[in-house]
Point group: D2
Chain length 354, copies 4
């Protein structure tokens, strides 16, 4: 597998480079008969698109998705949904300076080594622009999943961290601010901090937390395709992600079993939820929640030294229009990938009993 | 995919329940002509097996692997390697008490919900006994990978945490103590702590750190099958794992891009390695290192309340021979899964250029 | 994919060489809750096993299957079913004569070229012995499919061809004779002919016809995974198969559309069935029928000239205990592969509507 | 797998309906560094396109392919190649008459049953229009395969059958006539016959023969993914195909082993080639040749009776612009699918030795 396909039954293949003609994908396996709200799809794309606020990259791209197939009279037909987003704002000139040199902590060097050469314009295939295709497919998955609620939000920017967990937050406030942090006071601080970082020409990391609610019991295919393992892979496949934890996560390491075990209520729900809604790789009906760590964006608008293709040292200067912090725009991407995982397991689950 | 297969070209399918006749697997895609050291495979199994020290479960199982196919005159033939480990110490009686009730934070409830019923003996398929099959296949993968060095070790037990990173440690000391922590002083403390926990009938979590060295540049298949994404999935598929981070990980969130970026040396190596040996999902030749968080084992030897199949509250008592802390035995499992991922990407990499 | 796995959701991986320790497989994805009749499985194995009559190879192998996992209290658990058949009658000495030379029209040469060397004993992995594992899995698939009737039979041996089609035959007579031809008069002629061929030390080809009845409408996943395309691949993967046709097949080439079209009855069934029960790659509820052409077995008990590994011409003599005609024993294999295809599409079909 | 993806490493996913916005695909896994001749791709599309001669459908569609990604400065980058062909000649009105009734021997009925409803315009996804995407990908595969020669041609139309085998023909004449039969005299008869059939408003079946030359030894992944098994599946997945045979095929059934066996020359080649270039599922370096049987096109321009969605009998009349015989346009499709199979196995083969 050359790595551009995700999912087994609800299956997305994406294509496209940052500065090519178009990006897009084929979503195969979406069941027939789903009435699609195309506006909702575009809305998720708008949450991801550049230029939406002062704290994200100021590139302007409408990111309008065109559907080519798989829909008839407003409903999915069960055949593959082909779609494309044409690239309209390709300032390839911006990238002349990286044609022959490798930007530190980008994929320039590794793509060159792996494939022998690369489409250097805007990072080519390694650009996070690819994730727009995921958002399209994820938005379809969300509609398929109907009653399942998928809410991601920013819980940390640099050292600024929410001191409440998701049950203490009003998640409907996530979209009320450009940071996408549901706690307005913290959001303000984060926003100010990101602006400061931007002014320095620097970047900062962050954490996106995601909560999946009303997930039916039984999703996940042990032993390798555990629900949280596929969620983890999905998140780690997003650009700039360095870590994933669910339920008690890394903090759970310090707990004792007697504390960490989630006692049952008589209806099968549990009194606590350190497990994070998954036991033995299978959803147990409780909320699934997880954290996704994003490193600071590698493109800094500063002078730096690096090497060229021939191993010569070169001095250069970061340019272009980049995100000082990636997490606000990553929120819909995290949701999209979670939706794709859940949609796939929902279909797989149908095959489990005679 | 019903979830019991791992890998695309170097592909392992496992079978087996804790207390069934045998566990085992089929390893398909191991290239032909590899001279196999069967002792080395058994050695890794011995590192995982129960009863090896005072701080692990006292069950006694020899865990002897039998090979059924795929080998001829000491070498792999390119055909699937079938193998089995017969279960010899199946004290099924030990599990009568869980037949009709659900142990908290185990997979009893979810398996019953997913499949309609379950093999309750020793956790059945959800038991970590399944990982012995992974260790067999991983040990073969290690031999295929030859020059790549794969070293996992225990870096944290409860709150006891190594204060050195892997470059400051002598990894050859990992096997010198039953905890598998390469720092003897810390190992002693961890060992004492685990014994104490065990005396309480309780359990504790821990972290396994793993370092992959001499990995050639170019492994990983973006965009979904990024090297670290598949490593993450591999680790998250191990029983009791709650989190995965690589390179700077969750700590990288607090860094600025200007700090986090890894400057190049003229030979393509980097001066720092916050990236953790992977850029854009592709190995860059630097060391790959990651942390895997394990929750405390759910089986505590204490009285507890839970529910039965019909939702009635029942009082019961944890029994059996269980691990107070899973990380010492998890070390070879983490290595095995890392080896499987690297072997698969090594084969996939051969398809990348004309 | 290294080629030893068949199916997407109902998925069989096999292992094993003709003269290794054991052959067997892992059947993953069989839904939970299926009460398995183990005798019925062994019965299908007995239909395939050597030594069952005077017209098949006189090797004696009990071919007793052992199940290692996936069953509990007589029912499938939804976890992988591991199984093995130990090889008991490995007269490896019989194969000393082929160690260093290539038998014409066998896989000796190609395996050596592909893998660098081979397990030459009895053909190793290329031996039809591998199909015993398919028969085990296929017998489980049959039980899962319940109401679907799967009947294969011998319709041609050399030029001796049934002059009736399946609707004119009493398929319950198939097992009444060693040829497995449901027309007793033709069966006698075929049997006599095979004995004659055997006396000559020669072999002869044949055709197996298979009929699938009560297949529900809707199985098959266009466009690539058409029902008949996967049936075709399944059949072509059986040793010695040279051709596959379904419905009107090669004869349909000579028909006009106005003749070939199957008019509908008002209940959706069709008046004729040139389509062979599949339209657009999807079952239409009518009988599915197809023919599978088998070449004459390559092992003849005659003197012949061939080459050795180094390209030297060598004279040798066919030995061993071989089938003069493969089709009688191929009948249960054809049924098994058909059952695996139908079981897989039955599970896939569940994912098609919202 | 929802069935719209073909291949494991050289992997094509297609999308698109006959009368939707566009058809197209994503070709993932094409190795980097391949200089692509875009004209050659368009040329193969032109060989498939409607309106190219008097004996094919008179629909006019330019079938111009647009590439969206995966190419940079004329070469493949190793990233997925996204492409689309916009539909320009969608006379949807032509299909009003089939909206509510099922055409015999089409996929109307089965799609409706499988998915609950269908895009009825021009057959939607079941239209052979989908194969244009295969031709694009196949043309890329051909360029990747370089030295391998892939030649398909028409060998039979109705009962008019070439009486020479491929070694007696000049395959460079295939494109010299609209039938694509390399024997000019037979081609003339076939052409006249097809015109006659067309005048009757009827259709006729045919056979496409394909020859693969210079295929290296070693392609094919036994046991399930035998080279000829995947070729067979590839061919059977093409619209209207009813049968596949390779090498001696169905005729081989009547041969004795002593006749059928292909004796070796000292260089590993064989004196005869009844095996058809494949032994044990692996190419042996000899020519691979196979026949593909196509039924008569189901759309006849005649009055006929059928049923509607509610099972009522309706009288209707075949309309539209259809092919009287599908084989002339099927030639490039057969070649494309053969190329995709060979390209995939070429990449897989790289993983076979250490």
């Amino acid at each position: 597998m050359a790595g551009n396909t995700f999912g087994t039954l609800f299956k997305l293949s994406t294509f496209g480079e940052s500065h090519g003609v178009a990006i897009g994908g084929v979503l195969d396996g979406c069941p027939a008969g789903l009435e699609l709200d195309l506006n909702a799809i575009q809305l998720d794309l708008d949450r991801r698109k550049p230029g939406q606020s002062a704290i994200v990259t100021q590139r302007k791209e409408p990111d309008t998705v065109e559907f080519y197939s798989g829909l008839f009279e407003g409903k999915t037909t069960g055949t593959p949904i082909g779609f494309a987003i044409h690239n309209t704002n390709q300032k390839s000139k911006d990238y002349g300076h990286i044609k022959d040199s490798y930007r530190p902590s980008h994929a320039d060097y590794t793509y060159d080594q792996k494939y022998g050469f690369r489409d250097y314009r805007g990072g080519g295939r390694s650009s996070a622009r690819e994730t727009a295709s995921r958002v399209v497919a994820g938005a379809i998955a969300k509609q398929f999943l109907k009653n399942i609620k998928i809410n991601a939000f920013v819980s940390q920017v640099g050292t600024l961290k929410l001191d409440k967990n998701y049950t203490e937050l009003n998640l409907s406030l996530t979209e009320s601010n450009p940071v996408r942090c549901p706690d307005p006071a913290t959001a303000s601080k984060m926003e100010a901090y990101i602006k400061e970082i931007k002014k320095e020409g620097d970047t900062i990391g962050g954490v996106v937390t995601c909560v999946l609610q009303n997930v039916p019991v039984g999703l996940g295919e042990p032993v390798f395709d555990k629900l949280h393992a596929d969620l983890g892979k999905a998140m780690l496949s997003i650009n700039a992600v360095k870590g994933f934890e669910y339920g008690s996560g890394f903090a759970g390491v310090c707990m004792k079993g007697s504390e960490h075990n989630d006692s049952f209520n008589t209806d099968g729900s549990t009194k606590t939820n350190y497990s994070g809604g998954v036991q033995g790789g299978i959803s147990n009906g409780m909320d699934i929640y997880f954290n996704v760590a994003f490193k600071p964006v590698a493109t800094v608008i500063q002078a730096y030294e690096t090497i060229d293709k021939d191993g010569n040292s070169v001095k250069t200067q970061g340019k272009g229009r980049h995100d000082p912090c990636v997490v606000p725009r990553a929120v819909p991407i995290v949701e999209a990938m979670a939706a794709l995982v859940l949609a796939d397991f929902t279909l797989l689950q149908r095959a489990n009993k005679i």
